[in-house]
Amino acid sequence: MSRHELECGVIDNRAVTRDIFLLRLDAHELTLQARPGQFCMLEVGEYAYPLLKRPFSIHDVPDENEIEFIYRVAGKGTAMLSRKRAGDSIRVLGPLGNGFGWNQSRHPVLVGGGLGIAPMLFLARIISEKGLIKPVVILGARSSAELVSLEAFKAIDCRLCLATEDGSLGQKGFVTTLLQEIVGDSEADMVFSCGPMPMLKAVYEIAVKASVSCEVSLEAQMACGIGACLGCAVKSADRSSGQTGYLHVCKEGPVFDGADVSWN
């Protein structure tokens, strides 16, 4: 198996906006295995409170020793995580999940909204460096400040398109407007997306209309992260039997073919 449970040293953990943090870990054992779209479970508490590890998608693997995550401080767990300093260590379980099927695409379009930007940096890097393809990368956020890691994206050979809700950078509006234009007049053959559910639904619908297949990375509350507890279920699309079943985000995902997800 390629996954590990281990203590990783914190290289750096700093606020990049008021409440979004970039965490860099020394994790040589994980970097060689990690694929874009996979995630890691990070232990945030000391003992039992908070009890569960938190899942974070891998933001980047800039070299063979370092793995990066971005997260928003939203509760007790992420607040505790934000207090970790260089030299501290964090227990990590990973890499977990399936990852994006990027190597099936010759003209990939990446769409990240809000913190859904997180897996897109690693994905763009791998497509560019390993796939030798120049992907289209569409990123959106509320404001320019929340378009995190922009410099790192710019350093990758990709076509970068930006949207902000307040118009402070790139096009004013949503990633979906940009996606509409791009799938309309390019050779785009696959869309890879991560972001809030309403955004993913809109992205999927645009892709379907353009007859382009679409992979989405989903979020869910998780306990184990390895398919043992079945807690992270999301509804799957209706099957031929008419019965709706469940997909398990940690094991069968977090990346799903949009056609397999129930969007209602």
């Binding site: 449970e5 009890l51 569960l52 509350q221 390895i226 043992a228 079945l230 999301v234 019965q243």
Partner: protein, 307 residues
């Protein structure tokens, strides 16, 4: 030369032989393969003494709608709703792998009626199944589950039916959501149970105050984790003094010290669940810690630690 007595971690529960008294609890380790590399299940020396697989029903079950999880202080609420592949798929696709692993395999079963429990038990009279754990205590499903576990007469009927249908050691898993655990424990013992395991989860709930609705789609869920450990210990103490059959302690065990508390309270083995999901390597720590404690205190075997 002084002869040093090595502590004996092995346990025999009504014919169920365990290399050590630490089992993976049902519902937290899938069918084994999901966690194998992380907890040390292998062909040769497995770390856990046994694995209690996810509850199996006659027909596959889809489980409850999401959200199924809610984290609470030092605890976890779940309402998975016994999602499982059903006994047929279990026998065909899951058991062969489990057979290859060097650890005791205990199959947790769950039915909607006494007859279903008996049918499951007879279908599982096969090689590779070392014992049954009868779930009469799941709080997350409407029929079956805790409906059988809260009533001594029903608990006894299920126990008797499974005992008659099975050639394996039969462990009855008890619910803490009862008025008097001793009464249920005695009813199961009299009906032929070989052992008892307790506790299943405590019924609880959480409310999302922003969304103004319960966190769990199922409203109620089962509470596990360190938060329930004192309740579990108390009930193991009570049950172990009410019956003469072995007790397997379950509930919030997250360290070897926790396990020793359960042995002292009257358990002969423990199941570890939520803690394994949080930190799979804890299984190795618990097994090693128990051995070291026994050596340091001169405990000859697990049972001798009972207070």
């Amino acid at each position: 030369m002084e002869l040093i007595q090595q502590p004996d971690l092995s346990v025999n529960i009504a014919g169920l032989e365990l290399a050590n008294p630490v089992l993976l609890a049902s519902g937290t380790c899938g069918y084994g393969a999901e966690v194998a590399d992380l907890v040390g299940l292998s062909l040769y020396d497995s770390v856990p003494g046994g694995i209690v697989v996810k509850g199996i029903s006659l027909k596959p079950r889809l489980g409850n709608p999401p959200p199924r999880l809610a984290e609470t202080p030092c605890g976890l609420l779940n309402s998975i709703g016994l999602e499982n592949v059903g006994v047929e798929v279990f026998l065909e696709q899951k058991l062969p792998w489990l057979r290859s692993v060097n650890t005791a395999v205990i199959v947790n079963i769950l039915g909607n009626s006494v007859e279903e429990y008996a049918e499951l038990a007879s279908l599982l009279n096969v090689a590779g199944v070392d014992a049954l754990e009868v779930n009469i205590s799941c709080p997350n499903v409407r029929e079956g589950g805790v409906a059988f576990g809260a009533d001594p007469e029903m608990a006894a009927r299920v126990t008797k039916a499974v005992r008659n249908a099975s050639i394996k050691p039969v462990i009855i898993k008890l619910s803490p959501n009862v008025t008097d655990i001793a009464v249920i424990a005695r009813a199961c013992e009299e009906a032929g149970a070989d052992a008892l395991s307790l506790i299943n989860t405590l019924l609880g709930m959480a409310v999302d105050i922003k969304k103004r609705r319960p966190v769990l789609a199922n409203v109620f869920g089962g509470l596990s984790g360190p938060a329930v450990k004192p309740v579990a210990l108390r009930m193991v103490w009570q049950a172990s003094r009410a019956v003469n059959i072995p007790i397997i302690g379950i509930g919030g065990i997250s360290s070897w010290q926790d396990a020793i508390e359960f042995f002292m309270a009257g358990a002969v083995a423990v199941e570890v669940g939520t803690a394994v999901m949080v930190r799979p390597s804890v299984v190795q720590e618990i097994v090693s810690g128990i051995g070291q404690f026994m050596e340091e205190t001169g405990a000859f075997d697990v049972c001798s630690m009972r207070l």
